[in-house]
């Protein structure tokens, strides 16, 4: 569908003599991850028929650069998004490779975002297939007390009636692995969310350790969770993120800078199981549960 739209947009651009401004891809950091992301976006653009050369620069080089009013600023990462939102509030912005919680607190006038994280509902829906196989119908989500955005998302989650959602709110000065014992004792699944206090560093290790200790499957949000010991992961690959970003750029170009209407865009995602963990937890992988890209 997106490709069909892109083709039509391309035909429209060719027939329409009016052109949009330049595309500036700005990296939050000059490292391999952001450079690779920028190259992937350029490749996706080229693949989708957009031949205009986009300019790649890092945040330090791009600061205080004079731009045309119809230029598009594509910020990769939270730092660039935050900084450029404040520097060029009147320009059109596209934030990419960013978490929802990292979006600028005071966004510019015209912006859109392609997020790395998945809608919480997708993870919950995936966990429902797992809960069917276990004795417990309790879902556990641990979230730090300061993560307001995520806590609000949790409240928006839709669950069947027989499923119980237990939200464990962890203070900033509390180590989550030390207090999750009770919650895991009766849990059917543990959903990992993008919360750095809970799922990063040694806390993430011990959260996974405790889950495995209590035979509670973990639903992760990235492919890396599978290597770390999660049963299943719902994630958007970096290539799909680049494709989604390229699609937004192409849309901006075809619409001659007009907003599309939706600000938050999620890339196509995949669900992938760890067979070894499934075997250890004696869980049968649902049919069609293996990695396949989904809209």
């Amino acid at each position: 569908m997106t490709r069909l739209l892109a083709v039509f947009s391309l035909l429209f651009c060719v027939l329409n003599p009016v052109q949009a401004g330049s595309v500036h891809i700005v990296l939050s950091e000059q490292n391999q991850a952001y450079q690779q992301a920028a190259r992937n976006i350029q490749a996706a653009l080229k693949q989708q028929g957009f031949d205009d050369a986009s300019q790649i620069s890092n945040l330090a080089e791009f600061s205080n650069q004079s731009l045309n009013a119809d230029d598009l600023i594509v910020s990769l990462g939270a730092s660039a998004s935050q900084k450029l939102s404040n520097t060029y509030p009147e320009h059109r912005h596209l934030f990419s490779y960013i978490d929802k919680s990292a979006l600028p607190a005071t966004p510019p006038k015209n912006w859109e975002a392609v997020l790395l994280d998945q809608p919480l509902q997708r993870l919950v829906d995936t966990s429902l297939d797992i809960l069917k196989q276990g004795p417990s119908n309790t879902l556990v989500i641990a979230v730090s007390a300061g993560n307001i955005t995520l806590r609000e998302d949790i409240t928006q989650v839709k669950l069947p009636e027989h499923i119980k959602l237990e939200v464990l709110v962890v203070d900033e000065d509390t180590e989550p692995a030390k207090i999750i014992d009770k919650a895991l004792f009766n849990a059917g699944a543990l959903i990992a969310v993008r919360d750095k206090h809970i799922w990063s560093g040694e806390n993430a290790k011990w959260m996974l350790y405790q889950s495995y200790k209590y035979s509670v499957p973990v639903i992760g949000y990235s492919k890396s969770f599978l290597k770390a010991g999660a049963l299943v992961s719902v994630y958007a690959s970096l290539a799909e993120t680049a494709n989604a970003t390229a699609a937004r750029i192409l849309d901006w170009h075809t619409q001659q800078g007009k907003p599309s209407g939706e600000r938050i865009h999620y890339p196509r995602y995949a669900i992938e199981y760890n067979k070894n963990i499934a075997r250890a937890l004696k869980i049968t992988i649902p049919e069609g549960g293996q990695a396949n890209v989904r809209d």
Binding site: N31, Q32, A33, Q36, A37, Y97, L116, A177, K178, A192, W199, S200, G201, E202, N203, A204, K205, W206, L208, Y209, G220, Y221, S222, K223, S224, F225, K227, A228, G229, Y235, S237, L238, T241
Partner: protein, 470 residues
């Protein structure tokens, strides 16, 4: 340096590198095995530490001493540890468990326990992994590894045994392989020693192989060449020696001939001097005494006949005859026995005719070839004269027989008469005339025998060597 015998040198040359190689390889293997054993021990320690680390991470993280106690009991029971202790990341001892049943030399290990946090972000994973492991604490433990000691001892024994076997096999093989070479070279050396002692018949046994065999053959060919050269040299030396001996003999013979010639010359000179002196004496006697005797006889012829005149005439005549005999004997130069006897017969026959005595004369023809020196002739004439005088004076015989003939290497003259001869032994020995005859016969190198014949007569046998008259 250490040995002079070829076999020993060969053995040393081959054995020492072999020994060195075996030693190096043995040491290398031994160290490798020991490293392997040590590696096993370390690996065991790391395995125990890994297990303890995995199990104790969360208790160390949470400070759960009860859980650590369970882990310690499990590790001690499972791995027969001597002790195990857990220390947190602040250095504080959390637990120390000791197993009193385990005694012996301890191998102690101390491993830090790190917490490697997973990176759950796909996007940031593209960059370098900058998550640093956090230290949770340390696990110390010790165990007695008797099996490692046993393995070490077994390794020593095996390596030593293998080295000894390899060395023994090496020595045997080196001996077997080098024996042929050493024997071949030893034969060459022995042959060379014999050659040094001029034994050119010696040959080296051609028992080598390859180049050594070629060398032995060349060596033998060289000896053959030397032998041939030596034989030729000896032949030349013999020929030169024979030539030299011939020359020396020739010179010696020439010296002898020269000496003989010189002696002959001296003898000739002496004979010439004697002859000249004899001729002078003979002339003086003939001219002096002979003339006086002839003059005395001529003067006596003019005197009247008387017995005294007759006696004096007889004496003077005998003196004259005797003088003639002496002169005759002195004048006999290059005379022979035949002519001497013929002259004696001529002188004696007239007197025998006057006395009417028959003379039977037999002289062998060989007497004409037997040379007689003047002195020898005088001795013979005196003996014959004394014999005939004795027959005429004392025998009363009317017949005398003389025979002369060679008998073997001697020449024998026999004078027989038919008179009366009764000699007495003391008379024969005391008689002056017979004693003179024996003396003259002895000077001739011969003998004189007198015997009585059957008819009563006397037989005188004079025997002298033919060589007595050179």
């Amino acid at each position: 340096m250490f040995a002079t015998k070829l076999k020993t040198q060969l053995l040393l040359i081959t054995i020492l590198p072999l020994l060195f190689t075996i030693t190096v390889v043995s040491i290398f293997i031994l160290f490798d095995v020991l490293d392997g054993i040590e590696s096993e021990v370390v690996k065991r320690g790391e395995s125990i530490a890994g297990q303890a680390s995995v199990m104790s991470e969360f208790p160390l993280y949470t400070g759960d001493v009860d859980a650590l106690q369970d882990i310690a009991d499990l590790m001690i029971r499972t791995h027969d540890l001597s002790y195990i202790r857990f220390i947190d990341n602040t250095g504080q001892l959390m637990l120390h468990e000791h197993n009193a049943d385990v005694t012996g030399t301890l191998r102690e290990f101390s491993f830090p326990v790190y917490l490697q946090a997973p990176n759950l972000e796909d996007f940031t994973n593209l960059g370098s992994d900058n998550t640093q492991p956090a230290a949770l604490g340390t696990i110390d433990f010790g165990f007695v590894n008797n099996s490692a000691e046993a393995q070490r001892f077994e390794a020593y024994t095996k390596v030593l045994s293998i080295s000894m076997v390899a060395l023994a096999l090496g020595v045997i093989m080196v001996y077997l392989f080098s024996r042929r070479i050493s024997n071949a070279i030893g034969n060459l050396v022995n042959t060379a020693e014999k050659l040094e002692n001029k034994d050119f018949a010696a040959r080296a046994k051609e028992n080598g192989a390859g180049e050594l065999l070629s060398f032995q053959r060349s060596f033998n060919a060289m000896i053959s060449s030397l032998e041939q050269n030596d034989a030729e040299l000896q032949e030349k030396i013999s020929a030169a020696t024979a030539s030299l001996n011939y020359t020396v003999n020739q010179l010696s013979e020439k010296n002898v001939a020269l000496a003989q010639q010189r002696q002959e010359t001296i003898d000739l000179e002496r004979s010439k001097a004697i002859l000249e002196e004899r001729e002078r004496i003979m002339r003086d006697m003939h001219d002096g005494i002979g003339g006086q005797l002839v003059a005395s006889l001529a003067m006596l012829e003019r005197e009247q006949d008387s017995e005294m005149k007759q006696n004096i005439h007889t004496v003077l005549t005998e003196c004259l005859n005797d003088l003639r005999l002496i002169i005759h004997s002195l004048s006999m130069q290059n005379s022979v026995l035949g002519s001497l006897l013929a002259d004696f017969k001529y002188r004696t026959s007239r007197k025998l005719e006057q006395l009417d005595i028959e003379l039977e004369w037999h002289v062998d023809m060989d007497a004409d070839h037997l040379a007689i020196k003047p002195q020898t002739g005088l001795h013979l004439l005196r003996i014959l004269q004394e014999a005939f005088t004795n027959i005429l004076k004392h025998s009363g015989a009317d017949k005398i027989r003389l025979s002369a003939e060679p008998v073997d290497d001697n020449f024998r003259i026999v004078i027989e008469d038919n008179g009366q001869f009764e000699p007495k032994p003391e008379t024969l020995n005391a008689c002056h005339g017979i004693r003179n005859m024996r003396s003259r016969a002895a000077k001739l190198g011969g003998s004189l025998d007198i015997e009585t014949i059957g008819s009563g007569g006397c037989r005188l046998i004079l025997s002298f060597p033919c060589t007595a008259s050179p």
